[in-house]
């Protein structure tokens, strides 16, 4: 379980170091065994929130607890898998060498067949002996996914997992997330593609300009969407239409 309690993150910008809030008073509970979709337009603060959860950046105020540990504590990352947006690897190493290294960092014994299994699930087993600087974007994404699911983590955090993938890759990625969902994993993923929402999520959180606008179960939001059907017809389902409208309104209101 991940608890985000009244978290604010600001950055200093420009010559005079003007404060700019990336995330503002965010409180969110990511429940165990559920798939939570974290939506919002570009620059909403989704990646910043995820980076705070996985300990890459520190909140300016507030507390984030992962499995009972503060997100800055390395123990909070035991049983946590993370797939960053646009992952990359150093030059001069093969896929298998890289995944072996990350497997060793888990502090638990990871058998060779487990590594092969993760590579097979991610669909990159065939390129395990290829140098990663020769990988395409999709292949790099798949290797990063294999690394994130290595060691059977209970919590999986994916930052824009479908960005940059072709339609086949997107379908395969979604199937992997479905399989992980069936295994009862806690999945938290960010996206700005609304079409991903209904298919994968149990719960939807909507972030606009660093503020949490919505945080409800899929059924509740769908109900709301039916009731408040917006007039535009940009998207195919009322839910997508409703989320788009919420983003648009909050963007212009602020």
């Amino acid at each position: 379980m991940i608890e985000i309690d009244n978290v604010t993150k600001f950055f200093r910008e420009g010559f005079f170091g003007i404060r700019k809030n990336a995330v503002e008073n965010l409180s969110l509970l990511i429940e165990k065994g559920k798939v939570t979709g974290f939506f919002g337009p570009n620059g909403a603060g989704k990646s910043t929130t995820i980076k705070m959860i996985v300990g890459l950046i520190r909140p300016s105020s507030g507390v984030i607890k992962v499995n009972g540990y503060d997100s800055g504590d390395f123990r909070s990352r035991i049983g946590l898998g993370y797939l960053p947006e646009n992952p990359s690897f150093p030059r001069g190493l093969k896929g298998i060498e890289i995944i072996n290294y990350y497997g060793k960092l888990l502090n638990v014994k990871v058998a060779k067949n487990e590594i092969h299994e993760a590579l097979k699930i991610s669909g990159i087993f065939y390129a395990k002996d290829t140098y990663t600087h020769k990988y395409s974007k999709g292949m790099t994404q798949r290797l990063a996914l294999a690394i994130s699911i290595l060691g059977n983590p209970e919590i999986l955090i994916f930052d824009e997992p479908l960005s940059g993938l072709d339609p086949v890759g997107r379908k395969e990625f979604k199937d992997i997330i479905y399989k992980l969902k069936d295994k009862g994993k806690t999945i938290f993923f960010s996206s700005h593609i609304l079409a991903d929402s209904k298919e994968l999520c149990d719960k939807i959180s909507l972030l606009v300009k660093g503020k949490l606008i919505k945080n409800s179960s899929l059924a509740d939001i769908e109900k709301e969407a039916e009731e408040n059907k917006p007039v535009q017809a940009e998207y195919s389902t009322p839910l997508e239409e409703y989320l788009y409208d919420l983003m648009l309104r909050n963007k212009t209101e602020n």
Binding site: Y82, P87, L105, I147
Partner: protein, 282 residues
């Protein structure tokens, strides 16, 4: 501890396969192999010239490896976001940093050993400067003199030292600036002791008494003394003159230089760790 070891191995593999590492290594090997031709300009002692030239090549290219790879080893990890997958494992940031630093140190040791083997080979081939392990015996292995071996150890300490400086700078500034600052530190560190000697008052005997005959500008002297006291003094690692003349180095002198280098490295790594712990990796 295990995580540090795994990161050392990973970093070493990564550096070993990098183009910049091979570029410096091959260039140094060409210079060492060519030291024989350079020595032909001397009519006194060809072996001495070969040793001097080769030690200079080994030093400068190991320092380049330390500076240029040091300034990019963590900086590129952050820039290219490859650090995201490492730091989000159950790993302490300090362990990761130490693993990267020591991985580079292992690469420096590796390159120094290769350069020294080639250097030894060239000397053996030319039958110059090497000394028999058992003088007077019918058959004896030919070895490098003690000061040459100690110089190799000092090159390793010096290169790891400048790598740590470069990594520290890369955590607070850009890669290019970190390299420039490290080169400056290396240059100042090699000349500060000479500069410090130059700004000392000049004494001479006048009317049978020892008197100060020239006193340099106070401000200039204070600045040079300050630089000498605060910045590292790399000249303690330079024993190339002793190596070229086969002057035996005392254990005390060797241990003092090594302890001096290691102490500085430890202090730099503590500062780098404190910065890295607070750094937002975005």
């Amino acid at each position: 501890m295990k995580n540090i070891l795994y990161t050392i191995l990973y970093s070493f593999k990564e550096i070993k396969n990098s183009k910049i590492f091979y570029f410096f290594l091959i260039f140094a090997l060409i210079l060492i192999s060519g030291s024989y031709f350079v020595s032909q300009i001397s009519f006194i002692n060809e072996g001495r010239i070969m040793v001097d030239f080769s030690i200079f090549s080994i030093t400068i290219f190991n320092v380049f490896i330390g500076i240029f790879i040091g300034s990019s080893v963590i900086y590129d990890d952050i820039e290219k976001k490859s650090i995201f997958l490492s730091i989000t494992r159950p790993v302490k940031r300090v362990d990761y940093l130490l693993g990267r630093v020591f991985g580079l140190a292992v690469a420096v040791v590796f390159s120094t050993i290769i350069m020294m083997i080639i250097f030894y080979g060239v000397l053996l081939l030319m039958h110059k400067f090497v000394i028999p392990a058992r003088p007077g015996a019918h058959f004896s292995i030919l070895l490098l003199p003690q000061p040459v071996i100690i110089q190799a150890v000092f090159i390793i300490v010096e290169s790891v030292f400048i790598s740590a400086v470069s990594i520290l700078f890369s955590l607070i500034t850009s890669k290019a600036l970190a390299s420039i600052l490290s080169i400056l530190i290396f240059f100042i560190g090699n000349t500060s002791s000479k500069m410090n000697a130059l700004v000392r008052p000049v004494r001479g005997i006048i009317n049978g008494k020892l008197q100060i005959i020239h006193r340099p500008n106070h401000v200039l002297a204070a600045i040079v003394h300050f630089i000498y006291a605060v910045l590292p003094n790399f000249s303690v690692f330079n024993v190339s003159t002793q190596a070229a003349y086969k002057v035996f180095l005392s254990g005390r002198m060797i241990s003092n230089a090594i302890v001096y280098g290691i102490s500085y490295i430890v202090v730099i790594l503590i500062i780098a760790s404190l910065i890295f712990l607070r750094k937002d990796l975005s």
